[in-house]
Point group: C2
Chain length 320, copies 2
């Protein structure tokens, strides 16, 4: 009997990652290519197909492809489209699944990357036995995938889980989309950096971070400085974790998850982000939630989370 | 063939309401009695049984009882319990379903009143064809029942949908449970009254509301004053609707509902609460949600919502 596999495709603003994965999470072949090379969507799909064919040629056992799962910004799960994605070249509404199915007679499932991450956590990660949890991705922005009753929450028009845009402070930091005070302006890799620069203005302490320009400062430098006792770096993590903890406590009143999983660049800072977040989450939870809500690193952190999450979409939508 | 009916029981802090309802929402017989008469939970259940038997004796056609649905504060759907309810006499964990099933060999389902209201909206109200919506109950406090993917969100330990406790302002109004700044301290019948008293302190305008003590002022008087052009009453509704609208915009980033339904005393104020809420909801929605999220009066507003919501639990959990 041939082995069932899924193709996972993660479309990022810069790179597209593709891989072939089985139900157990084995990644048999993978590659990546530039998302920005093709202005024409059809040309992009042709290149995607050539990479998939190349990966297929490397497979050295009998297999059967169950479907193709795709994580992409502004993806609409119900319509199989990518709609008005600000950081992709293809404007308007792109009929992704329909066009890909002209090239492959296979089921195609598409959703946004944080939702794919949540499904990945459920299929391959640490949420295998959980029915209620959230994955929070902390990269350039803050993404979220919400699972309740064992199902991903898509929402009425497939745009649930935009928690990076929760307004946490009136007239606060500019957030994009012309808004101020959105959560991701504070809690994300970018948010942490903005907080460092706020604290450089607010505090008087010496800090190695005073030697970097905004454009030169990267997240790992902030972790390293915190590790070496830098007061600005440590205060930046404390403030970031406080805000995240307070907001996770608020989110708990919504769907009462068993656990929050953190994934992405900022999550790699380990205790520097987990400790203050956990402290302020617990402190702000209502009494009947206290001690019941876990804050955990994603089980996908050291895996190829983006490809696996996309592939997991296939199993999630084809298994009954 | 005998007609299938459900028994709906709504346990409030003061009154318990009981009725017999069919799948179409016909309420054939109903009554109420004091919740606070019996300190012993067993005595209370005996009285509940005597009322159910009395209602049954009034039925003048062949019927079959499918189950008993119960709406109660601090109910745990998974365990069938009422746990540490602050406004009931029975302390600790009350094994409600188990004890009621000693008296009736029927399925018993219990959940909190706002969740029952959401299921009522789905079975009997205006959400019959919706898969993603929320019911917000605006009474003494703010309750919420959240439906996503066509299912009520219960959460990991049955305590999802506590949106009255979302923290909206650091160091804001005392909210109960020792917290400050919780949403229901601003948006509820009580919240509206607190806002009137804040505005009486803040504004200089003449107002009929200056003639009432806090204890004597009731919601309908505020609506009536607003109707008559009273500036304090109108400003109180505007502020309440602004805060509710802002928060509904935040909630939209979670589960992207098709509609919010308002139910309860404050919702009866009609345009005075709906107009400012709708305006500030729309203003604060992210661009891709704008024009897509409805704010509607609950379809249960003029019905016996509490009994019907409780009865709806039976159909929701016995139909496949």
């Amino acid at each position: 009997m041939s082995k069932k596999v899924a193709i996972g495709v993660d479309i990022g603003g810069t790179l597209t990652k593709v891989g072939i994965v089985d139900r157990e999470g084995n990644l048999f072949a993978h590659t990546d290519f530039s998302t920005t090379k093709h202005k024409e969507f059809g040309d992009y799909l042709d290149e995607l197909k050539s990479h998939i064919e190349e990966l297929k040629s490397k497979m050295d056992f009998d297999y059967e492809i169950t479907g193709i799962g795709v994580g992409a910004p502004n993806a609409n799960f119900f319509r199989g489209t990518i709609e008005h994605a600000a950081n992709l070249l293809w404007k308007g509404v792109v009929p992704f699944s329909q066009e890909l199915q002209k090239r492959y007679d296979l089921p195609v499932f598409i959703t946004n990357d944080a939702s794919a991450a949540a499904i990945g956590e459920m299929i391959y990660g640490e949420a295998v036995n959980m029915k209620d949890f959230m994955v929070i991705t902390l990269g350039t922005g803050l993404g979220s995938g919400i699972v309740a009753n064992g199902q991903l929450i898509y929402g009425h028009d497939s745009q649930a889980g935009e928690l990076g845009h929760v307004m946490i402070e009136k007239g606060g930091r500019l957030t994009g989309l012309g808004r101020r005070g959105g959560l991701e302006a504070y809690v994300s890799s970018t948010g942490l950096k903005r907080t460092v620069f706020f604290l450089l203005s607010d505090m008087m302490d010496d800090s190695v971070l005073r030697d970097y320009s905004y454009n030169d400062l990267h997240g790992e430098m902030i972790s390293k400085a915190a590790e070496e006792g830098d007061p600005i770096a440590q205060a930046a993590f404390e403030m970031t974790g406080r805000i995240l903890g307070e907001q996770l406590a608020n989110f708990t009143t919504f769907s009462h998850p068993e656990a929050y999983f953190l994934l992405g660049g900022l999550a790699k800072a380990g205790k520097w982000i987990f400790d203050p977040t956990r402290k302020h989450l617990e402190k702000n939870l209502l009494p009947f939630y206290q001690g019941k809500v876990k804050l955990l690193p994603s089980g996908m952190m050291d895996k190829n989370a983006a490809i696996l999450g996309a592939a997991a979409l296939v199993w999630n939508n084809t298994e009954s």
